[in-house]
């Protein structure tokens, strides 16, 4: 008996789900329905629809750049431009290419030999450190929790912890900031900002946002009172360190003082003091690159997932990790809840595990991981398929609702979670599905939603949907 059988049924063919108010699952017609008929709680939320004409230009993907090289240029110019844009090795391979370099035979031969030597070194390096094999965007796309990261119109979203303000990274690598009170949108873009993988607002600050991108971390200061829609890059600080690229995840500590950045190709995770622009690496043997890190709500612990089965839980006082091993595959998603409980899921496995530290029992601190939820793929009576390996997981900050996004199926499942005496119980809440062929790209819970929880979903069409789950105290009692 799967947990999915006890969910309320999906809305009919012309209907879609809008919200859930006190256990009532509100659905209405796709074309005529309006969420304001059910609730006013998101009346002031910015209406966002990311469409193609919003982009200023489309970035060329790295695979096909060579197709666009202008054949009319002379050889030297071509080589230098490739060197400037893509690096020395690419320039060498261009010079060695007999199709491009017809003029200078000597250069071609020298270049091909140099390339052979360079390749020997790279092979040796990859033999020693196999996790470095992928280059920039490939690493990000491999480890991203966003479905189809390289082509999705919305790459990632982040809610401000204290204000109704949301930041989106769009496919053209601009970061757009939408705010509930003002109608204009700030667009953040600078030259260094490419292949944005993650966003994080600084807690206890109205203006600072960290953007994880290929070169490193960019910390923008966006003055909320300023009317500029395109802040200049003088408002940005680029934090980078050799070997720490591409950044696959950034996250601020809940106290707002430290920033942790992770890179899928770097075995150390960096703890930044942003104003001093200094970083301290945290490194331990084994495990490969650190893919992402999550701060616990009380800022006392950090969960760090590596690209192998190993994951670590760091203590933020002593900065000593506790090492864990997942059973089959690397950890793909994790989220902290109240009382330092952590839920995580491994790649290509339809099970959610909970890791609880059971506190001091007989003077010894013990913690254990146990499965709490099985979401094996099943077919619903309506014919839709739901469940399967987990792609992304979000838990709202009160620890009441858990949203799951799946790798192979396109319906988001929301669960109610209750924590009683260190025991976590999970019960069904509702499904959310897209309109027509939409598939969910990424999602997040709003952090300052006082009426309950507001799940925000970025669909593959570029539509941003707010799905409020409202409960009133009277109803509970």
């Amino acid at each position: 008996m799967s947990i999915f059988n006890s969910f309320p049924g999906l809305p009919g063919p012309d209907e879609t789900a809008f919200c859930k108010i006190n256990e009532v699952y509100c659905c209405a017609n796709i074309r005529y329905g309006n969420i304001s008929t059910f609730t006013n709680s998101i009346k002031n939320h910015p209406k966002i629809n990311v469409t193609k004409d919003l982009y200023h230009h489309h970035r060329l993907s790295d695979e096909n750049i060579s197709v666009y090289v202008d054949v009319e240029d002379n050889l030297l110019k071509k080589i230098t431009s490739v060197w400037y844009k893509q690096g020395f090795l690419e320039a060498l391979s261009l010079a060695a290419d007999p199709n491009v370099n017809r003029e200078s035979q000597i250069l071609a031969i020298t270049a091909s030999y140099a390339l052979k030597v360079a390749n020997l070194f790279t092979t040796l390096r990859y033999f020693m450190q196999p996790h470095l094999k992928d280059i920039g965007p490939k690493i990000v796309s491999k480890y991203s929790r966003t479905r189809n990261w390289s082509n999705a119109p919305v790459k990632c979203i982040a809610w401000h912890p204290h204000a109704t303000k949301i930041a989106l990274a769009t496919a053209d690598d601009n970061v757009r900031i939408y705010c509930s009170e003002v109608s204009f949108v700030s667009t953040l873009k600078c030259k260094a900002q490419g292949h944005v993988s993650s966003l994080s607002w600084r807690p206890y600050s109205a203006s600072e946002i960290a953007v994880g991108c290929e070169q490193g971390v960019i910390v923008w200061t966006v003055d909320p009172n300023s009317m500029f829609t395109k802040p200049s890059s003088s408002n940005a600080v680029v934090l980078k360190q050799p070997g720490h690229s591409p950044v696959t995840d950034v996250s601020w500590s809940p106290n707002g003082d430290l920033l942790v950045s992770c890179c899928g190709a770097d075995t150390s995770m960096l703890v930044w003091d942003v104003s001093m622009e200094s970083a301290i690496p945290l490194r331990r043997v084994a495990g490969g690159g650190i893919v992402f890190a999550r701060w616990s709500l009380s800022a006392t612990k950090i969960f760090a997932a590596t690209s192998s089965i190993i994951f670590r839980v760091w203590d933020t006082q002593t900065w000593i990790p506790e090492r864990w091993c997942a059973r089959g595959c690397r950890v793909v998603a994790a989220c902290w809840g109240p009382q330092d409980i952590i839920l995580f899921a491994a790649k290509s496995e339809p099970i959610v595990y909970a890791l609880t530290s059971t506190g001091l029992i007989n003077g010894a601190k013990t913690s254990k991981a146990q499965p709490v939820l099985d979401v094996t793929k099943i077919e619903l009576p309506s014919g839709d398929i739901v469940g399967g390996p987990i792609l992304d997981m979000c838990w709202d900050c009160t620890g009441k609702y858990l949203a799951l996004m799946f790798e192979e199926t396109h319906i988001i499942a929301v669960f109610c979670t209750t924590q009683l005496m260190m025991h976590l119980s999970v019960s069904p809440c509702c499904f959310i599905s897209g309109i027509d062929t939409e598939v969910p790209s990424t999602m997040a819970f709003q952090e300052n939603f006082s009426e309950g929880a507001c799940l925000t979903i970025a669909w593959s069409s570029g539509r941003i949907q707010y799905f409020p789950i409202i409960y009133t105290d009277n109803y509970c009692s």
Binding site: H160, H162, A163, Y204, S205, A206, S207, T221, V222, D223, P224, N225, S226, N255, G256, D257, L258, V271, D273, V274, S275, M276, E277, S278, I280, P281, L282, R283, A299, T300, T316, Q317, T318, W319, I320
Partner: protein, 562 residues
């Protein structure tokens, strides 16, 4: 040295021991590498062991210990004293020739000399003796290469002293996270070695130029004194210098010297900056507010950083702050702590004010603050979550009024006149250049010492925001207006510095470290205000605040403060 506190000297001794261990390890590694013999690995290892166990090695370790104690002395006396304030060019120039600097430079020169000879003797080269047997004559000849190297040792010591101490204020920077000591050393050791080899290139070049120009003088002096013959081609000739190959040795030993000095510095930083827990109440040990009251001294730093840790992650000691003293029922712990914290922030504020130029308003603000301890409108009722201790009548107010009586005696007037005269004299262009205060430098000094202020603000804000849930008696909320107004004041002062247009051009900071610390300080003050305001957002209108402060807090309340 005698003013140093016990904590500091204990740590210094610990650092010396660590340093000796680490340096010995490096020395053994060096011996091991120098005797490399891949064809006969057994002889290689056995000869290394023989060398390590020999009496020469233990002599070297004693030498190493001596060097290490030199360094500890320098470091100790450097950090235990408050940073001297020299704001005019003249006083800075005079400071170059202070007794302390002369002693330091001698010590550094000796240090360089010993380190050089230590490593060269470890490497089994015979550069430690100035004499050698002549090949062509009968008698003693001068080994100029030894002279060259020994002079180089002193030169490097002096070079390091000049670059690190004279032209750069060495401040103890506390890392933002503190890992285990061993981990920290592991992380930096490769960096230290590569840095040592890179940084030694410039002083070696300088030294070669120096020797090219002046080298013949020490050579003739030494050969005269010891009545030695000169046999080898002189080294103050570029071709001879290069062909002799001594420059490779020089670069190698200089790099080792830099590696050893960087190692020492790192070890000292790691040991000295280790966070420490101070008790809240104690008869024997130093308490947190004792530590805090030693502002700008080493213990003050430790106290401030401990305050931040305590307020963030230590509920046990936090609850001690929120308790009342047993006989009497006064919130003594909190009052002591608050007094010390506010003092740190206010002192800093005063310094900023003096730079901002409105010295008159300082007294005004302080005066008003004394008054505003009594809320203007006594709060009639508090809602459930916000508690308050009974508003006791404040006697402090009366005392402060008394101290504001102006004493106009003749001596005071004369002094004031004299000061005015001096100030006027200082305005004259030429004199101003040498004797005038440089605001840049002053700001730099202020900011370089601002780290404890940062931690104090944050610590205070954590305690205050924790008090909403943990403070049973409402001790802290009684002083909420005071904390808020102090923080707002500091924020406004910092804003005045960074906003263009208000501050004249000459105030612009040009020191990278100071600029970074300024932005760090501003950001931590804002974060502290946000933390308090967000925590108390529901009750903010019930807190009796000055209208000015209330206006200043508005943007924080609606999350619009950049």
């Amino acid at each position: 040295m005698e003013t140093k506190s016990e904590i500091f000297s204990q740590r210094l001794i610990k650092a010396v021991l660590w340093n000796i261990c680490l340096q010995t390890a490096l020395a053994i590694l060096l011996v091991f590498i120098i005797q490399v013999d891949l064809i006969h690995p057994l002889t290689w290892i056995s000869s290394t062991f023989n060398d390590i166990a020999s009496w020469k090695m233990s002599l070297n370790i004693v030498l190493l210990g001596l060097v290490s104690f030199f360094q500890a002395y320098i470091y100790g006396s450097y950090y235990s004293m408050p940073i001297p304030k020299y704001f005019s060019r003249f006083s800075m120039f005079l400071n170059l020739f202070s007794v302390q600097n002369i002693v330091f430079s001698t010590l550094y020169a000796l240090n360089g000399y010993f380190t050089m000879s230590l490593y060269s003797s470890l490497a089994k080269s015979n550069y430690n003796v100035l004499k050698k047997k002549c090949e062509n004559y009968d008698g003693q000849c001068l080994s100029e290469q030894s002279l060259f190297l020994q002079f180089a040792g002193m030169w490097m010591g002096l070079y390091y002293f000049t670059s690190a101490h004279l032209f750069g204020a060495a401040v103890l920077t506390f890392p933002h996270i503190y890992q285990e000591k061993f981990q920290q050393i592991k992380l930096v050791i490769s960096n230290i070695i590569s840095m040592g080899f890179q940084h030694s290139v410039t002083p070696v070049l300088y030294y070669c130029i120096f020797y090219y120009v002046w080298g013949n003088k020490p050579r003739s002096v030494v050969s005269d004194v010891y009545s030695l013959y000169l046999e080898d081609p002189p080294l103050d000739n570029i071709i001879n210098l290069i062909s002799s190959g001594i420059w490779i040795g020089l670069w190698f030993y200089t790099s080792l010297f830099f590696v050893s000095i960087y190692t020492m510095k790192t070890v000292f930083n790691i040991v000295l900056t280790e966070p420490m827990k101070f008790p809240i109440e104690s008869e024997k040990q130093m308490t947190l507010y004792d530590a805090l009251s030693q502002r700008s001294q080493f213990t003050g730093y430790l106290g401030a950083i401990d305050l931040k840790h305590l307020s963030m992650v230590d509920p046990v000691r936090r609850s001690q702050i929120f308790t009342l003293s047993q006989p009497g029922g006064h919130p003594r712990n909190w009052n002591n702590l608050l007094e010390k914290c506010l003092l740190i922030i206010k002192e800093f504020n005063k310094e900023l004010d003096s730079v901002n130029g409105d010295t008159n308003s300082v007294d005004d603000i302080h005066h008003r603050k004394g008054l505003s301890k009594v809320p203007l409108t006594p709060p009639s009722s508090y809602s459930g979550a916000l508690r308050n201790m009974a508003q006791s009548p404040n006697l402090l107010e009366l005392k402060e009024h008394k101290s504001y009586k102006l004493e106009t005696t003749f001596a005071a007037t004369a002094k004031e006149e004299f000061n005015n005269f001096l100030q006027k004299l200082c305005q004259k262009p030429g004199i101003n250049y040498f004797f005038g205060e440089m605001v840049n430098t002053k700001l730099k000094f202020i900011f370089i010492q601002a780290q404890p202020v940062m931690w104090t603000c944050e610590g205070l804000s954590y305690i205050v925001s924790a008090s909403l849930k943990e403070d049973k008696y409402g001790i802290v909320q009684n002083d909420l207006p005071l904390v808020l107004s102090t923080l707002v004041n500091l924020k406004q002062n910092l804003d005045k510095l960074s906003k263009p247009g208000i501050v004249p051009r000459k105030h612009i900071l040009n020191d990278v470290l100071a600029i970074k610390i300024r932005s760090a300080l501003l950001s931590s003050v804002k974060r502290s205000l946000y933390r308090i305001v967000i925590t108390f957002s529901k009750f903010i209108h019930e807190i009796p605040l000055d209208p000015d402060v209330q206006i200043a807090l508005q943007p924080f309340l609606i999350c619009k403060e950049a």
